[in-house]
């Protein structure tokens, strides 16, 4: 046993009535018919080393490449991009005479670009490899022969091995359970990683293998399993075990699946059946779909447009060329046209024209920015690094930073419209705290829930603001003091939001956050109705199925409960002085400190029966006999259920308790009602006979019978009180939801939990509030599958949907908010093709949507429906394996890291440690990345059009011969060196407003979803700017350098002089353009932008110094020819200014007369108006919130409206 812990050995199966009662004739029904050929020799792994019994090893690999396949595969991947393929062809053709350029100037940039992309691939894949290796090197205890077990890394585990898995360890492969530390061979398994369900599942081994429960017994153990072949179905398994000369059938109840976890059980022995990629969980793994952002998809269209444009101008060129060649070139004796080859053959102009088409396609290839993809990739990797490095998204508790797992989607973060969120583990931490209770009609518990706290703070501010706006006349004179107050509260709110809510109130005891002097320290004895209190505490302590573990070090007990609520109850009972300290097979021992403090009494309660909890019954009861011999039925359950079952004289506190329960619900708490009933000996005896009979019988109606009997018993109850447990939200969740709602995002909750829990959490997160109209769409529970019934159900749902839609349409109150709550069963119908659009329409009209009891697959289907139905960007966030489908389906998948399961994180595009970081991820990083990428892509097209078109214009002056006016080296360096770095710095460092402002003005986020920076207007504007610039650059230079001397020395300009001057102008113009585009200059931007221009001159200088064999006519061009010519500098200045003039005038006009939000905020910040006029600043901040119907801001507003309405009524009644 683990140190410091003592646990009674128990036959757990006796604790439960329904779920784990073993049918007495287990294993007798004979072997299953097994389809499939897998044979496993238990405990003889050596037999599995040869074919045909050699199965795949337990080594897992999720990498895309390995050392050998990397090169071919990665290269193939690269050239699947059309643009890259085009450049590859161009590079290949550059080796022939067709090409207008030298081979190197085509191949070098391509090699650079492809090489860089491949390096990125390699880096990402190596990360995956490291992750895999971590898993492969986990150790588990394996039978090494002769009854000795030793640790071995997972990847060395073979089929047939007997492994011993200890508590809280993951199973290394799919295993057959042989025995466990419990005598009846059961164990508890947490399958959160597989299906996201947090409740523990019970697995039990075959009766015959139970005795194999120590290391020694495996010395001579052999057996053979025949079973199905590997398959992805998690819930089925067919197989037989041959052991001891007999054949036993196996079912899923004996199978422990890889990646689930052993809980509440000290150890299990099991034999390995499926290893590595054969295991069910890995069979289930699908390759995560590669996602592309909206901007990138749109970018493809732009590329297609440019391609079309390219083809058009190439056709113009080649037709021009063919015409010239046919009609004019024969006269151009200086070309020796009689002496020519196919490329310039006047006799065959069509053929020459065709060749020239290819030449032209290569020549004008500069229209397609070769470096666009690679620059974007570099930028995104750097952006991702910033996300990973953000200290504000680092979670101190789990030690996990945020992680951008793929960098493709950074800018998509800035365009999210709908968030689909999982509940457990994402919004809540799945930890319950006992917070309040109502006993005998008196409410106890003074602490407020997180929701209440946050709402109070918010309310304080809002009221101030309402006051202010009500008295605009007195503002100046009066508001000084108010302003201070409000500022203080604002600051307070900020601290509430940023720091843990109620840090000082953090419960010392996990699960217990109750404070009330009337109950604590035995003071309840002084309260009236002590007997009811006593009962209340006893119900808390007895009505449960947990197992206590005595911690020797502290002397107190910890509990292993099935659900966290139950744990919270037991802890609460302990704190109230009723410590549950021992459980035996048939009794529960409570150590009661009161009513005689000082002398704790151990009382033993005989457990007669347990009527356990199911989601259908929504209640659980125990029947106990106390020390006096009195038989009691203690019951806890959902309030509605309990209230229905109260006896006439048990309704004493019903009214008050209902009121309390409503208050608790409003405060976002989970409530249960507690009740009891006294039983007569004879009454119990007659019932018990029936009940035992039902328990023993086997057959389809067993369940129904048990349920009916339980139902009979749980009547005529007497209400004692109610409990309120806080399903602890993760830190900062309500605030985060509030902010996200203010940023205009819609939030849907998809949970596997039951409807009540989901609604409670909805309240806790302020997704629901009192006064909101709840539209619950449900189905009557019909299990029959006949077609007519199905049709009827569907009809019914359709009716509900249309009615609800009509109701929303007819609603006149602009503040009315609707919430749609739908359960999984209904969803199966609602997601069918013919009515899904009605469903979606209704859901979109509602302020919040909660889907409960949904399966992982439905989560994915809902996500797809939203994604495809609304055409907007969706983000799915979750933590468990049950969220994987939805994470992969959504445009962006976010996984919560830090919890133990990694599936969601592995499938996600981004991982964060806590839900609250989502705000920063979207509102800051998403906003920035979207703007950066959008501006960058636009600029890229501008710059390449500005450059590429000059080549085309020149053709018209060079008889369309395919001659370039620029030196090959200039062309090569243009995209790679001279203009790429500034645009990368734009993509990495640009900030329109600082991160604080992003957070303070959530409305700025809407620029992304509304796509203000990458709409066609903007894209075409930039392209037009590119065309304009190309015209200016080309024609001004051509006219300036037309035919006359360009220097005092009388020399005329040759092609290199003109080309170099033009190129200088281009470099200046595009770099000045990007400087105008940027609004945020750190030294890096300055260095890169101005550095690029300097680099150009440096290059020209150095190039001119190389041997003339390399530089050709550019030899000493700058020093000798251009530098001393004033006209060169004059032309540069003129062209640069003229190119940028329209853009400058445009932005001047826009910023002055039609400013966007961030422009105004930039100005406010620049003039420090936010410091001078803080009143205005806070007012604007609160106005900047998107008009929202969810979140606690909306809640507070609703409350204020309500109060004001009441006030008005009062006034009017007074007046009349």
């Amino acid at each position: 046993m683990t140190r410091g812990r003592i646990r009674a050995k128990l036959q757990r199966s006796h604790l439960y009535t329904f779920s784990c009662l073993r049918p007495s004739n287990a294993g007798a029904e004979g072997p299953n018919l097994v389809q499939g050929s897998r044979i496993v020799h238990c405990n003889q792994p050596h037999l599995h080393q040869k074919k045909p019994l050699k199965y795949c090893s337990n080594f897992i690999s999720t990498t895309k490449y390995n050392v050998v396949t990397f090169l071919p595969k990665a290269i193939f991947e690269q050239f699947r991009r059309v643009a890259n393929l085009y450049f590859l062809l161009a590079a290949a053709l550059s080796l022939t005479a067709i090409s207008p350029f030298s081979a190197i100037s085509m191949i070098a940039p391509l090699a650079f670009v492809v090489g860089l992309s491949m390096a990125k691939e390699a880096l990402e894949d190596s990360r995956r490899f490291v992750q895999d290796m971590k898993v492969n090197l986990r150790k588990t205890s394996v039978h090494k022969g002769d009854g000795v077990f030793g640790y071995r890394p997972w990847h060395k585990i073979q089929v047939g091995d007997v492994v011993k898995v200890e508590k809280d360890q993951f199973f290394p492969a799919d295993l057959l359970l042989l025995s466990s530390s419990y005598e009846d061979g059961i164990c508890y398994v947490e399958t959160m990683n597989l299906d996201g369900e947090t409740n523990l599942k019970i697995k039990r081994c075959l009766e015959e293998t139970v005795p194999l429960n120590d290391d020694e017994s495996f010395k001579n153990f052999t057996g053979m399993i025949r079973c199905e072949d590997p398959n992805p179905s998690l819930y089925t398994f067919v197989g037989n075990l041959e052991y001891d000369g007999r054949v036993f059938s196996l079912d899923p109840g004996q199978i422990l699946l890889r990646d689930s976890k052993l809980r509440n059980t000290a150890y299990v022995y099991a034999v390995v059946i499926f290893t590595g990629h054969d295991s069910k969980v890995l069979q289930n793994a699908t390759d995560s779909p590669s996602k592309r952002s909206t901007i990138e998809k749109k970018m493809d269209y732009i590329i297609y447009i440019l391609f079309t444009f390219l083809v058009v101008i190439s056709l113009i060129s080649s037709i021009g060329f063919a015409v010239k060649t046919k009609y004019q070139v024969p006269d151009w004796w200086y070309l020796q046209p009689q002496n020519t080859d196919n490329l310039f053959d006047p006799n065959r102009p069509a053929l020459s024209g065709f060749y020239h088409l290819i030449t032209a396609l290569i020549l004008y290839g500069y229209l397609i920015p070769i470096s666009l993809y690679v620059s974007i990739e570099v930028v995104k990797v750097l952006q991702a690094t910033f996300i990973n490095q953000d200290i504000n998204m680092f979670d101190e508790e789990t030690g996990n930073p945020a992680q951008a797992r793929t960098s493709n989607l950074n800018e998509e973060l800035g365009q999210v419209d709908t968030i689909l969120s999982d509940k457990t583990g994402t919004l809540t931490c799945n930890q319950m705290d006992f917070l309040k209770c109502s006993i005998a009609g008196t409410a106890y518990g003074v602490r407020s829930s997180e929701v209440e706290l946050a709402a109070e703070k918010q309310m304080a501010i809002e009221e101030e603001e309402v006051d202010l706006s009500n008295f605009p006349m007195h503002r100046d004179s009066q508001h000084d003091s108010r302003r201070n107050v409000r500022r203080a509260s604002e600051i307070e709110l900020e601290t509430v939001i940023t720091s843990n809510v109620g840090n000082d109130q953090k419960p010392v005891i996990k699960g217990f956050n109750f404070e009330d002097g009337r109950l604590m320290n035995g003071n309840w004895i002084k309260e009236p109705k002590t007997d009811v209190h006593l009962l209340f505490f006893r119900i808390l302590a007895i009505c449960q199925t947990a197992i206590p573990e005595l911690n020797e070090e502290t002397g107190s007990c910890t509990y292993e409960a099935e659900s966290p609520d139950e744990g919270a109850f037991l802890v609460a009972a302990r704190e109230f002085g009723f410590e549950f300290c021992k459980r035996t097979q048939s009794s529960v021992v409570i150590c009661e400190r009161y009513p005689n403090p000082g002398q704790p009494v151990e009382r033993e309660y005989k457990i007669m029966d347990i009527l356990n909890f199911t989601s259908k019954r929504k209640r659980m009861s125990v029947i106990v006999r106390d020390e006096e011999g009195q038989i009691l039925l203690l019951c806890k359950g959902a309030d509605s259920i309990i209230f229905d079952r109260l006896s006439k004289n048990g309704r004493m506190y019903e009214e008050v308790t209902t009121k309390h329960l409503n208050e608790y619900g409003e405060a976002g708490l989970r409530t249960l009602a507690l009740a009891y009933k006294m039983l007569e000996e004879s009454e119990y005896a007659t019932w018990n006979i029936e009940f035992q009979k039902a328990k023993a019988c086997i057959g389809a109606d067993r369940e129904a019978m048990l349920e009916r009997l339980s139902d009979m018993m749980e009547r005529e109850l007497i209400l004692v009180g109610a409990t309120a447990v806080e399903d602890k939200l993760q830190k900062g969740v309500p605030q985060c939801i509030d902010k996200l709602a203010q940023a205009g995002l819609k939030i849907w909750v998809l949970t596997g939990d039951k409807m009540e829990t989901a609604i409670n959490i909805g309240f806790a997160c302020s997704l629901l509030r009192q006064g909101m109209k709840h539209i619950c769409v449900t189905t009557m529970s019909l299990d029959s599958l006949s077609k007519d019934v199905k049709e009827a159900v569907k009809e019914n749902i359709l009716n509900q949907l249309t009615n609800a839609s009509r109701m929303i349409e007819e609603e006149k109150d602009p503040h009315a908010a609707f919430a749609l709550i739908i359960d999984g069963k209904t969803l199966t119908y609602a997601l069918e093709d013919d009515i899904k659009h009605q469903f979606l329409g209704l859901a979109v009209a509602c302020a919040s949507v909660i889907c409960c009891r949904v399966s992982p697959k439905q989560k994915a289907m809902v996500t797809r429906l939203v994604k495809e139905g609304t055409g907007k960007t969706t983000l799915a966030i979750g933590d468990g394996a049950n969220d994987v489908g939805m994470i992969q389906e959504a445009d962006i998948g976010v996984g919560i890291s830090g919890v133990e399961g990694m599936q969601a994180v592995m499938a996600s595009d981004f991982s964060i440690a806590q839900f609250r970081f989502l705000e920063r991820l979207l509102v800051v990083h998403g906003h920035w990345c979207y703007k950066r990428i959008a501006q960058m892509v636009c600029y890229f097209f501008y710059k390449n059009i500005a450059f590429g078109l000059t080549l085309f214009y020149f053709e018209a002056f060079a008889a369309f011969s395919g001659q370039s006016v620029y030196d090959d080296w200039y062309m090569l360096l243009f995209n790679v060196l001279l203009t790429s770095l500034p645009v990368i710095s734009l993509g990495v460092f640009e900030q329109d407003v600082s991160s604080e402002v992003c957070l303070q003005f959530p409305a700025l986020y809407q620029q992304g979803p509304r796509n203000l920076f990458f709409n066609w207007y903007r894209i075409l504007g930039w392209m037009g700017n590119g065309v304009y610039s190309s015209l200016i650059i080309f024609f001004l230079n051509i006219i300036i350098f037309y035919d006359q001397a360009f220097r005092a020395g009388g020399q005329t300009a040759d092609m290199d002089t003109v080309g170099t001057t033009m190129f200088t102008c281009i470099i200046w113009a595009v770099n000045c353009q990007i400087a105008l585009t940027m609004s945020h200059f750190t030294w890096i931007q300055h260095l890169l932008v101005w550095g690029s221009i300097v680099t150009w001159y440096l290059f020209l200088l150095l190039y001119g110094m190389t041997s003339p064999l390399i530089s050709g006519n550019a030899y000493k061009l700058l020093v000798e020819v251009l530098g001393p010519a004033p006209i060169y500098w004059a032309a540069t200045l003129l062209v640069t200014i003229t190119c940028n003039l329209p853009y400058f005038a445009h932005i001047s006009f826009q910023k002055c007369f039609n400013p966007m939000d961030h422009h105004v905020i930039q100005e406010i910040k620049y003039y420090k108006k936010d410091v001078e006029d803080q009143h205005m600043w806070t007012r604007e901040r609160s106005k900047a919130r998107h008009d929202t119907k969810i979140g606690f801001t909306a809640r507070v507003e609703a409350k204020i409206r309500q109060l004001r309405g009441r006030l008005q009524k009062k006034h009017s009644s007074v007046a009349s």
Binding site: F394, F1046, V1058
Partner: protein, 352 residues
């Protein structure tokens, strides 16, 4: 036994896990730096009306003087242009110019008189100007061998010179290629008042070309010896580095209309001087309808006569001043206080 062994090791793990997990946590924590937190100090210029107007005005203020200065400079340049390709064809060949120019028997000498309109200070540059001559045609531009021009050792390096690379018996042509082969070969002789004007052909090419691109040990060889005669012949006894006409010609022009430097006259020409030019009209531009002009020009700091630069500067400068005024008016008519929150979208949404 094994159980206790296993769990005690588990216990030991528990004991160390606290400190190690703290270390692990810290190891994952991003290190703070202004760079990684994107908080580098930055200047965030904003476009205030002041800046806009200042920018426009200063562009205007800078551009207009530059424009005036270049116009003035351009005005000072004196240029005489004379087209002679038509005039120098004898009347009987008017309809058959090609035959005239291709025949070796016809007299190519032609005399023209030019009047100097204004005084031309020395040096007066002499240019020939060709029209519709595609020196920038790709086939033409590529047809040369820089290696061969540069050193005697690379004489055989004529692979890029097609179709004018080697003679019929496969010995290399120096200088090879279409450019050299089509060298301009009209010549001009000048005299004023019967006094011959010296034409200096020195230093008409770039110094670097002479020194580094055209070898002083490379002599013309097999040049214009094939069946097709293109343009000028070269004196085989002068190294290429001294053949400045060739060097100038080899710098291919960017446009189909171009001038190239022929020589310099080092004496001043007075106004109303009549210059007699004796032209040897050898070069065939008649087959492709090209024009030939003789240009005499002085220069200024902006080179030859170039009104465009000045006009362009004045236009852009004027435009900027106009924009400056328009913006001033706009600001006056419809002022927007900077940082005025009423322009924020949420404040404007209600009014509009």
């Amino acid at each position: 036994m094994a159980i206790t062994g296993a769990s005690s090791s588990g216990g030991a793990k528990d004991g160390t896990s606290d400190s190690s997990s703290v270390a692990r946590r810290n190891s994952k924590k991003p290190k703070y730096s202004r760079f990684t937190q994107q908080e580098l100090p930055a200047c965030k210029p904003i476009l205030t009306p002041g800046w806009v107007i200042t920018t426009f005005i200063s562009i205007g203020v800078i551009f207009i003087p530059i424009g005036l200065a270049s116009l003035f400079a351009s005005e000072r340049v004196v240029e005489i242009i004379d087209r002679y390709d038509e005039d120098c064809v004898p009347l009987n060949y008017t309809y058959n110019k090609l035959a005239y120019i291709q025949s070796s028997e016809t007299n190519k000498t032609c005399t023209k008189r030019l009047i100097v309109s204004k005084q031309m200070k020395s040096p007066v540059y002499i240019y020939y100007q060709l029209d519709n001559f595609y020196q920038n045609h790709r086939r033409y531009v590529k047809s040369r061998s820089d290696k061969q021009l540069r050193s005697k050792a690379s004489e055989d390096d004529t692979s890029t010179c097609k179709p004018e690379a080697v003679t019929e018996n496969n010995s290399p042509i120096v200088p090879c290629g279409l450019i050299a082969w089509s060298l301009f070969n009209d010549t001009y002789g000048f005299s004023v008042k019967n006094k011959v004007l010296e034409v200096s052909k020195k230093n008409i090419a770039w110094k670097s070309d002479q020194d580094n691109k055209f070898g002083s040990d490379v002599y013309p060889k097999n040049f214009q010896s094939g069946g097709l005669i293109g343009g000028a012949k070269l004196n085989a006894s002068i190294p290429l580095s001294e053949q400045e006409d060739l060097i100038v010609w080899m710098r291919t022009a960017a446009l189909p209309t171009f001038r190239k430097l022929y020589g310099k006259i080092e004496t001043d020409l007075e106004a109303n001087d009549e210059i007699t030019v004796v032209i040897q009209n050898n070069y065939n531009t008649y087959s492709f309808g090209g024009k030939k002009r003789l240009v005499l020009s002085t220069t200024s700091w902006i080179g030859g006569k170039n009104d465009f630069l000045g006009v362009a500067y004045l236009t852009v400068g004027g435009l900027c001043l106009f924009l400056a005024i328009s913006f001033i008016l706009l600001y006056v008519i419809k002022p927007r206080p900077l940082g005025d929150p009423s322009y924020l979208s949420w404040n404007r949404g209600h009014t509009s």
